[in-house]
């Protein structure tokens, strides 16, 4: 069932040895770099000559457009009606009931299913057209507005899930119940790592600023490798404390001593290997060296002191504060530069059940400039072509108000039947607006995109046919996109 795992392990080990020779500068017998390259099938993987370790034989299925992905997830579900899905006609419907012909008895969360009426709350925010594409966007996203021609906006996302926990889990893993691998793990497992000093899948969390924002939970299961090997789980890169858990030496142990200790440890482990010939010992020696390389490279990664002022002109002064979304985006760029394959960012506080006009501007201000700067920065560096950027939530929000509706105040409940997200770079066509919803932003009228279709599209950009990429688990060939049909959204491909 998993023959390739053994091959993986050997290949990874050889790659480690190869770089160890470079690093430690001592000659350990191993296979030559040339042979290594061919063993890894490097030619098939990339034209840029980035070395890849691990990954599945036969992948990618076809040349990849995206080598890396930066996935910005807005936890809590941003309201599409106030940001992306312009519905000018709604102002005439203020406080009128949502017509039953639109709702069609659809299931609601138990937070509003008891409401006696469903009064329509038009967005209080102004919309305008931007760019050559003339894309309509809310005034809350002035920076995003400047790059509408770089992004593809999908307005017709839909899902089955109506609560956060299952909906995010579904977005990330293709199943509402925890236990399946997430997208980042699938990609790392399938395509391997392009960096021998850092994990191939990194997770970052950005702070939100509004004190009364309604915050939803996330959990380690969202970046878990599920039934794939744990080595494909996301590794947290943190803005406080140790940037990577346990990366810093204990007090009184400088790097110089760590190096001495690892040399001696490696030698003794080598002696053990000579006695017992357990390949796991060999792997362990390599992993300690990888750990040391991480210890050396993580400080360099997180040290932003050499970033020029122009960086902060682009990302904003907020990017100087650890943990802000802007700083997280900057860190995501630095990770992408180092060829970390999958970078997952979470920003919370989007669950605007109430006080939306007060909270939403703050949430948008948190993320707008950072997301814009990230895309522009990647573009300037020539990396946008092969780096996919995603900006999404887990579902949408209702046109009707949850709780009391006034001219200046309203809230919105969860809405799975339509919502918006955008993607950029990595094989995505810019300036595209995909799909249309009805005048209430309630139902999709044209070109629906299911979460599965989104997942299939991400896989496609990585050169993977989602239908042919599975893992045998409990007797089933499990795919990220599950058993139901999923289609690549061709209209947004470059």
């Amino acid at each position: 069932m998993r023959n390739h795992d053994a091959i993986d392990a050997i290949a990874a080990q050889m790659a480690q040895e190869e770089s160890r020779r470079q690093f430690f500068g001592r000659g350990i017998q191993g296979i030559g770099a040339l042979a290594l390259g061919s063993l890894l099938g490097q030619d098939a993987r990339g034209a840029t000559g980035v070395k890849t370790t691990g990954g599945m034989p036969g992948l990618p299925h076809f040349p990849a457009k995206a080598k890396r992905c930066i996935y910005l997830h807005m936890v809590g579900a941003p309201p599409q009606i106030d940001l992306f899905d312009y519905k000018p006609g709604m102002k005439d419907y203020f406080d009128k009931d949502l017509p039953e012909s639109i709702r069609q008895g659809q299931r609601l969360t138990t937070m509003t299913s008891g409401q006696s009426r469903f009064p329509i709350a038009p967005s209080v925010f102004k919309f305008a057209q931007h760019g050559k594409s003339g894309t309509w966007l809310s005034e809350l996203l002035p920076y995003t507005a400047k790059m509408v021609d770089d992004i593809a906006l999908i307005r017709t996302m839909h899902t089955e899930e109506i609560n956060h926990e299952p909906a995010i889990t579904f977005f990330q893993t293709g199943n509402m119940i925890a236990g399946r691998p997430c997208i980042g793990s699938w990609v790392s497992y399938g395509l391997g790592s392009m960096n021998s000093d850092l994990p191939s899948f990194v997770v970052l969390q950005a702070k939100h600023t509004h004190p009364r924002a309604n915050v939803q939970a996330i959990s380690a299961r969202l970046w878990s490798a599920g039934f794939l090997s744990g080595q494909y789980s996301g590794v947290g890169l943190r803005s406080g404390g140790d940037p990577v858990l346990y990366i810093n030496n204990p007090d009184g142990v400088p790097m110089e001593m760590r190096h001495k200790m690892l040399d001696a440890l490696g030698e003794m482990n080598q002696q053990t290997f000579q006695k017992l010939s357990d390949p796991e010992t060999k792997t362990r020696i390599a992993q300690y060296e990888m750990a040391f390389r991480m210890q050396s490279s993580v400080p360099e990664l997180t040290d932003v002191s050499k970033e020029p002022e122009s960086t902060y002109a682009l990302y904003g002064e907020e990017a100087k504060k650890p943990g802000t979304f802007a700083q997280t985006c900057l860190m995501a760029r630095r990770l992408a530069e180092r060829n970390v394959r999958f970078i997952q960012v979470y920003h919370r506080g989007w669950d605007v059940h109430g006080s939306l006009p007060e909270v939403l501007p703050s949430q948008c201000k948190d993320v707008d400039q950072g997301a814009y700067a990230l895309v522009q920065d990647l573009k300037q560096r020539g990396m946008l072509d092969d780096t996919l950027v995603i900006f999404a939530g887990e579902f949408g929000r209702t046109i009707y108000s949850q709780g009391k509706l006034t001219a200046t105040d309203y809230g919105r409940d969860h809405h799975p039947r339509c919502f918006s997200l955008w993607m950029a770079g990595g094989g995505i066509k810019g300036g595209v607006v995909h799909g249309t919803t009805d005048e209430f932003s309630y139902n999709i009228t044209e070109n629906p995109v299911h979460v599965r279709d989104f997942q299939a599209t991400v896989m496609h950009l990585f050169g993977i046919d989602h239908d042919r990429f599975s893992y045998k688990y409990q007797g089933l060939d499990v795919k990220l996109t599950g058993v139901e049909k999923a289609s690549v959204v061709k209209a947004i491909l470059a």
Binding site: A220, Y246, D251, L276, D278, T281, T283, Q287, Q474
Partner: protein, 837 residues
């Protein structure tokens, strides 16, 4: 030697960590808010079950159906926590049917994986051509586990019913007596209320003086004179109400009405506050009564002191703050939400213990479920009493208060009932004519005041309630199964597994591919558990023997320990497995005997050396060509470091502990309101408990264990992964726990021998059970000299190193030597040979 290990209490602790993976034991609910769940008595049950060598058939029956055994013992009920370990939710807005299905599926999947070696969940949506479990069987199996009194929403409380109280050892004998006597008293008092004494009717017609009180004068501490308070007040007035036709203090503004000369409540003083109030609007929060100040503190920030009784989210509650700003709180459970536009009577009792568990609540005369025990470690510090007057209705616009009393002790159920009906009783007494609705209340009043026998029962009840509360505080709660007796277990088949696509109803049944359940067994969990252990059942013994083999050899005879079906891997040694299974069953499911047999086997005791020939033919050692050699489990790695350093605390059982963990692991994922948002590390010897006692927050499992593949315990795991990653190296190199262990091992070596050679021998004897050979020794000593040379020139680093971890380094004559030895110990602790079994 093997017998000694099997007899040690640590045997059970070790075995338990495997079983707890299968049982998906954790210390939080798992989904969404992921609050604390009090469940550790179940974990301790597992440890003790192994230690007293409970046979596997009994072990099974008690965990799956202990509650259905005749006259189940407390232990047998605790055991049923097995199927209360599944993750649960309280996310607002969810649809309960959907989660009822998810819970049932989890229990069916877990049972299937643990006892049947079958992945029954594959059949959730539809039949599969080659799968022995059709869809109907999946729902029929799940039916056994969903016929429960448990609600879907866990209420975010630590003690979601059904639960049992597990008294502390010193209370084990007394507790059944107290609870039995409480039952008797309540029955006797209820009976008295159903039989009107002959004199009652006569008494009813008698004229009475005004000024009656619900309780005795000695107990009634304070009664608010509402009409007097309203005089001249602009924020409230006496107005007609629909409560007993009486006027009530009605608030016209959100501004409290001060109550002059009200009593000062304090932390060591028991009290009961009782009030009748009108709740105007569902979506608004109200402060009913309070006595509180904000104390400005320029250093620590502002803090609150005093108390407040309020309604928020339609739930009543009370908070009490001591003078260090910490508060204890009682809040009605979610299912006790009150309706707006109604009168409600609230009683909060406090026993003067300073503990959160010293609070109790009655709503409309009835003791109600409250939001559990919260953070049990919180204790009130200092005083709560203030000079500020008590305020009624600080924010209660459009609401009203009809009665407000403070009593100087904890009231019992009968008194609570009287208080809750007092407005009506008082009105009836003064009218001198009772309506039928008041008659029962008047009878209770009559009995309390006029019937000495009833009074005796009532005062015994008061005393026993207090004792029960104290026992509860000393004890623990654990979650158990409780069968619904009003229906037989059944389920609906769901079209494509969708909760809202209910199809045919099926009775609970065992999978049709296996021998049927005999007719003499009851068709419930108990019958199912007994059926599992029947000799004709081919799966249980094989699956269990295989799992035990896997624990010892690192890999099962059937590698897919959770899947013996056609989709799993075939056994490498079919006959061996068959023999082991039969042997296990025929020897009375004796687990200690079985483990001993494996450990004594020539297969286990052969050398672990892998020759090139063996590696080529048998790379994974599936053919058992050599002795088992595999990286230890997460818990063992940490425990081994602690044990070899002499730090390990061998205490068995008790609440979970929180050892070292990097900052921010919990906060990074937690909800703001979660009571497991901030990781408050324990100190002292709790840092050195065995790892199976480490608190498991399921949405952010213990970081160092997680990295070594310890499952998050969100679902059943019968086969752990065993990866070999750089992050693992970072843990054993940099986790405070491991460096502290190294430091302590070095300290012991320092004392044990005068020179480096002897010290090295001491350390390797502890870690490897052997001295190093020549070449190894050379490397180790050379490294030690390098360490010493470094610390000699960097004494401040030596000092820092010797301060890693909480346990102080005892005064060492030579700091440089100690630091260099600590580094050497640290190096040895990271050896492949140490990390590998």
């Amino acid at each position: 030697m093997i017998d000694r290990y099997l007899a040690s209490p640590q045997y059970g602790a070790h075995r338990a960590h495997y079983w707890l993976d299968a049982a998906r034991y954790g210390d939080t609910h798992g989904i969404h808010v992921d609050n604390y769940r009090e469940m550790w008595p179940y974990r301790d049950w597992v440890i003790h079950a192994y230690n007293r060598n409970l046979t596997f058939d009994q072990f099974t029956i008690e965990q799956l159906a202990g509650d259905l055994l005749p006259n189940p013992t407390l232990e047998q009920r605790i055991a049923t926590g097995f199927h209360r370990n599944n993750v649960t939710t309280n996310e607002a807005g969810l649809i309960e049917d959907e989660y009822a299905e998810i819970y049932a599926k989890d229990r069916a999947d877990t049972t299937g994986a643990v006892w049947l070696g079958m992945t029954v969940g594959c059949a959730t949506c539809h039949d599969h051509k080659f799968d022995p479990i059709p869809q109907k069987d999946f729902y029929a199996l799940g039916a056994y586990f969903r016929n429960t009194t448990q609600r879907v929403m866990d209420d975010n409380i630590p003690d979601t019913p059904p639960i049992v109280l597990v008294p502390a050892l010193e209370d084990r004998e007394r507790w059944p007596q107290v609870s039995a006597r409480l039952g008797e008293l309540r029955t006797a008092m209820a009976k008295a209320r159903q039989q009107e004494p002959a004199a009652f009717a006569q008494w009813l017609t008698n004229a009475r003086p005004t000024g009656a009180r619900p309780l005795d004068t000695a107990s009634e501490w304070f009664t608010a004179d509402l009409p007097k308070l309203a005089e001249g007040a602009k924020q409230a007035k006496m107005a007609e109400s629909n409560i007993a036709g009486r006027a009530a203090l009605t608030f016209t503004e959100n501004e409290g009405l001060p109550v002059p000369s009200s009593p000062k409540l304090d932390a060591d003083q028991p009290f009961t506050i009782a009030l009748d109030f009108f709740f105007p609007k569902a979506e608004q929060s109200y402060t009913l009564a309070s006595q509180q100040v904000t104390v400005k503190d320029p250093v620590l920030g502002d803090r609150t002191q005093g108390w407040v009784i309020n309604v928020g989210g339609r739930v009543v509650g009370m908070n009490i703050w001591g003078d260090n700003g910490q508060n204890i709180e009682i809040r009605a459970a979610h299912l006790e939400q009150i309706k707006h536009g109604t009168w409600n009577h609230l009683i909060v009792t406090y026993d003067g213990s300073r503990h959160q568990s010293g609070l109790g609540m009655f709503l409309n005369g009835r003791a109600i479920a409250t939001q559990g025990r919260g953070n049990q470690n919180v204790v009130l510090k200092g005083a709560i009493a203030l000079d500020q007057p008590l305020l009624l209705g600080r924010s209660l616009k459009d609401g009203a208060i009809a009665d407000f009393r403070i009593i100087n002790r904890v009231v019992n159920e009968s008194e609570a009932y009287l208080l809750s009906r007092w407005t009506a009783i008082d009105a009836a007494l003064s009218r001198q004519a009772a309506s039928t609705a008041d008659r029962e209340a008047l009878l209770v009043y009559y009995l309390s005041k006029q019937d000495p026998a009833f009074g005796k029962l009532a005062s015994e009840l008061t005393a026993l309630n207090l004792e029960a509360r104290a026992i509860t505080r000393r004890g623990a709660i654990t979650h158990v199964m409780n069968e619904r007796m009003d229906q037989m277990p059944s389920a609906n088949i769901l079209f494509r597994g969708a909760y809202d696509q209910k199809r045919a109803k099926v009775e609970a049944a065992t999978p049709s591919v296996l021998p049927p359940m005999p007719a003499d067994l009851p068709n419930n969990r108990l019958g199912f558990a007994k059926w599992l252990m029947r000799p004709e059942n081919p799966m249980t013994a094989r699956v269990t023997a295989n799992r035990m083999w896997q624990e010892v050899f690192g890999i099962g005879i059937v590698k897919t320990a959770d899947d013996f079906g056609s989709q799993g891997e075939p056994p490498t040694h079919q006959e061996l497995l068959d023999w082991l299974a039969v042997d296990f069953r025929e020897n009375g499911w004796d687990m200690k005997r079985f483990y001993k047999q494996l450990l004594m086997s020539a297969t286990y005791q052969q050398t672990a050396v892998a020759t090139p020939a063996k590696l080529a033919k048998d790379p994974e050692n599936r053919l058992l060509s050599r002795g088992p050699r595999f990286r230890m489990d997460a818990e063992m790695i940490r425990d081994y470091a602690l044990a070899s350093s002499g730090l390990l605390n061998l205490k068995v059982g008790g609440p979970s502990v929180k050892p070292y963990q990097p900052e921010g692991v919990w906060e990074a994922v937690a909800m703001i309101g979660s009571n497991t948002r901030f990781y408050q590390r324990d100190g002292g010897d709790k840092l050195y408990r065995r790892s199976l006692y480490t608190f498991i927050k399921r949405s952010a499992p213990p970081a160092s264990l997680d990295i070594f593949n310890a499952p998050s315990r969100e679902s059943c795991t019968v086969r752990r992964e065993r990866t070999n990653t750089p992050l693992q190296a970072l843990v054993t190199m940099n986790d405070t726990q491991f460096m502290e262990a190294a430091r302590n091992l070095a300290q012991r070596a320092y004392v044990a021998a005068p020179v480096i050679d002897g010290r090295l021998d001491f350390m390797t004897a502890n870690l490897l059970a052997r001295p190093l050979d020549g070449p190894e020794r050379q490397v180790a000593i050379k490294a030690y000299r390098e360490y010493a040379a470094y610390y000699d020139t960097h004494p401040s680093d030596a000092r820092k190193l010797l301060q890693v971890g909480e346990k102080p380094t005892e005064k060492a004559p030579d700091m440089i030597v100690s630091a260099a030895l600590a580094m050497l110990a640290h190096q040895l602790l990271n050896l492949d040979e140490v990390l590998t079994k």
